[in-house]
Amino acid sequence: MTSIQTLSRGLDPLRTTLDNGVVILAQESRAVAAIALNATFFAGSVHDAENLPGVAYLTRRTIDRGTAIRSADDIAATLDDRGVSLRTAVTRHTLSLSCLCLPEDFDEVLALIADIARHAVFPELELEKQRQEAITSLREDQDDPARVAYDTLLDLLYGRDHPYGRRVKGGLEALEAITRTHLVDFHRRRLTPSSLKVAVSGDVSAESAVASAERAFADWVGPVAENEPIAPPQDRRSRSCQSIAMPGKAQTDIAYGFAAVRRLDPRYYAYWVMNDILGQFGLGGRLAENIRERQGMAYYAYSTIEPAEGEGALVIHAGVAPENVARTIEAIDTEVRLLGREGPTVNELEETRDSLIGAIPRMLETNESIADFMLFAEQFALGLDYHHRLPGLLQQVTMDDVKEAAADILNPARAAVAIAGPPS
């Protein structure tokens, strides 16, 4: 029996590809009497038309509001009666429907998700409601200094012409211009069997989960969704900085960053380790040690690196009092320059590698995280045994690799810096 013992040793997923291209991944785990379900399409904001960003986002918001055989109210009743909260999400590259359910509800919830994915009808009335909610959500983003700083940084790094510079939520004008026809067309073109991966993890046998998913999706016929490669962003030769004044705010947010490497670039693991040292290890790596611990300037200072199809961003985030903005940027420059020029210490490299490798069991603990991990490995073709290979891949990262990665990217003279907060 695959079960609790299996997970103590790692995953042992079952993978099946249907004739129509749907990939099904299933992992049995009896730890909790629940099942995580995640249906993810390769369909995101990069597939929006350049002049109409936000179509993928509104598709995501409206997709579960009616199918050919179920009204929005029927769908709501099926979910609410079972305590299921269906999360719909869209990123640059993916649109997903995911939830947790009790084992006795699995078949019914899976059938509902399949119906939504395949037969969404995007009723006009529901689209109007979602459009209004989307506009409210956009306005909230525009009032959030952290969000404004991050979006401005993406503008500086990629420009609005690049798919990664485009806002997932589009903009006010685009949200108002999108029609039902746009959603129906996006659904038809992008939400197709060949772009769908279904992951199931939890209190169900892998064989039985695959059989259920096969019943739900095997007879679906649809076009093959074409995928354009993501062009690299323009080379940055100089530093750029932009400030956005937000009256009435108490604190300033800083987003400071660079375009990094593609997830499938062999250097990615060195970048991952380097970013951990810069702004993750402990409560925020070297950045938090300087800005929070030594100088007491910020509650948070950390960095993230985005694993993406194209050159995702390495972003440093800090929230500080307005009078400390200049000192904080100086501190970021110092840490970026130092790691870029000298690389990490031997101790930092060893501790970070141990920490990232040791964290793998935590990453695979819950049903939702197992489903996410399987989908991530599938998206980047990392293989069913990725969790077994990952420790070795991290272990192979050498001091020279990390130094090279740091030297490649960490140069304050080429940084993009976005600042949003109270006017000075």
């Binding site: 103590s8 009743a77 609410d80 909230e140 009032d143 108490a250 604190q251 040791g358 603990e365």
Partner: protein, 436 residues
């Protein structure tokens, strides 16, 4: 029966050491991990005027070095074992955690034993942390919803210390001294006031032997809590208006809520599920997204009709009576008055008519599912064990499922009739102003 069907907290070992420290151990061999939490029965509800925010600031100082772990060596101890660590403070508790490979059990227990007995509170570190805490407060002020919540709570409660925010008032954060912080630490960080929880891939007897080795040497002593003043009954509606630069309007309506130990708590929990969807009972899992709520009454009435873009209800288990708060984000262009009127109409309808048997069944089903979902990791299970031991005492957590199941239609109707009355409510508005 599937092996997963048994409740994960069905076999907890509970011991009390000679110095008064309560220890809870739960073996869970689902992953090679262990989670260690140390809970202290002190939070912002125990703070006297002038010292608001002290529990939270002390929590920060407890990451700044101990006699045997210098500040710059804290990082790395559990990270080497793939671990994470953190802490949080709320109204009734301050708590610290590490989750890592179970091979790090010794290190995790060592850190917590040091934290209980030997934190340094270096004067310069206390000063540096003052600005960090103030920065945290100002970060919260960037969020209009949070600003309104603080104003609403301080308006709804007049005497009970739950009225001030956990982070404290700015004036107190500017004036508190190192001596205040250290006194607070010494007063409350003693074995009798703490619960140590260990959950994961461990052997219970081995855990208890190690816990004794690390914690028995810490001397026990009496804990003197300040007496919390009772909140005086509210007899008329209160209102608060916040006007600031912003983009979106928010409305909140709060009613006094029963303490976790009050039998009415579970009826109100079911009522909240009917009004806004079930959230479960884990503060640790509370931020994972919207509950199942599209058939709930307030969602249908407000989001369904395009008046609001978001509806939520917050009923959290606390030691003393607190607030049941309903929150609404106004849809773009909708007047706050129109939103409030419809929300109050719905509330009045449930107050006078009660809920239907179908709604009761749905709410219970949702809560049952949520209780399962929130036990999905050793960290979450350990949180729930420590949380309820700290705020409600031994045995409470195990009864939650059956107490929800036994709530009747009449009890839900009665709690709506008694509690959702106009004279007891506090209404808050955040009205956005155009930038000046």
């Amino acid at each position: 029966m599937s092996p997963a069907a048994a409740p994960v907290t069905s076999n907890v070992r509970r011991e009390v050491l000679s110095n008064g420290l309560t220890v809870l151990v739960q073996e869970l061999h689902t992953a090679p991990l262990a989670s260690v939490w140390c809970w202290y029965r002190v939070g912002s509800g125990d703070e006297p005027p002038g010292l608001t925010g002290i529990s939270h600031w002390v929590e920060h100082m407890n990451f700044k070095g101990t006699e045997q772990i210098p500040r710059d060596r804290i990082k790395g101890i559990v990270e080497k074992f793939g671990g994470m660590w953190n802490g949080y403070t709320w109204v009734d508790q301050t708590t610290y955690l590490e989750t890592a490979s179970s091979a790090a059990l010794d290190q995790m227990l060592f850190i917590e034993s040091q934290r209980m007995s030997a934190s340094l509170f270096d004067a310069a570190e206390c000063e540096a942390e003052r600005t960090v805490v103030i920065s945290e407060l100002q970060g919260g002020e960037n969020d209009p919803d949070q600003v309104l919540d603080i104003e609403l709570t301080a308006t709804a409660l007049q005497t009970h210390p739950y009225r001030h925010p956990t982070i404290g008032w700015l004036h107190d954060l500017r004036s508190m001294t190192r001596a205040h912080l250290y006194d607070h630490y010494r007063r409350y960080y003693v074995p009798q006031n703490a619960t140590l929880v260990v959950v994961g891939d461990v052997d219970t007897d081995d855990v208890l032997r190690k816990v004794e080795a690390y914690f028995e040497p810490i001397p026990g002593c009496e804990v003197k809590h300040y007496e919390r003043p009772e909140e005086r009954p509210q007899d008329a509606e209160r209102r608060v208006l916040v006007e600031r630069e912003g983009a979106t309007g928010y409305v909140k309506i709060a009613y006094p809520s029963p303490a976790a130990g009050d039998p009415e708590f579970f009826a109100l929990l079911v009522l909240d599920a009917v009004l806004t969807g079930a959230k479960g009972l884990s503060l640790w899992c509370a931020f994972r997204g919207a509950p199942p709520q599209r058939k709930s009454r307030l969602y249908t009435a407000l989001v369904g009709r395009g008046l609001a873009s978001m509806v939520s209800g917050a009923l959290l288990p606390t030691r003393d009576p607190f607030l049941y708060t309903l929150s609404f984000t106004a849809a773009d262009g909708v007047a706050l008055r129109a939103l409030e009127d419809v929300a109050l109409e719905e509330i009045e309808r449930v107050r006078t008519e009660g809920v239907t048997p179908q709604e009761l069944a749905r709410a219970k089903r949702q809560l049952k599912a949520r209780l399962v979902f929130e036990n999905d990791s050793v960290t979450s299970v350990a949180h729930q064990l420590g949380y309820f031991e700290t705020i409600a005492g031994a045995g409470y957590l195990e009864q939650i499922g059956s107490r929800i199941a036994s709530v009747t239609l009449d009890q839900v109707g009665e709690v709506a009739r008694q509690r959702l009355v106009a004279q007891k409510r506090t209404v808050g508005w955040f009205r956005p102003m155009a930038p000046r």
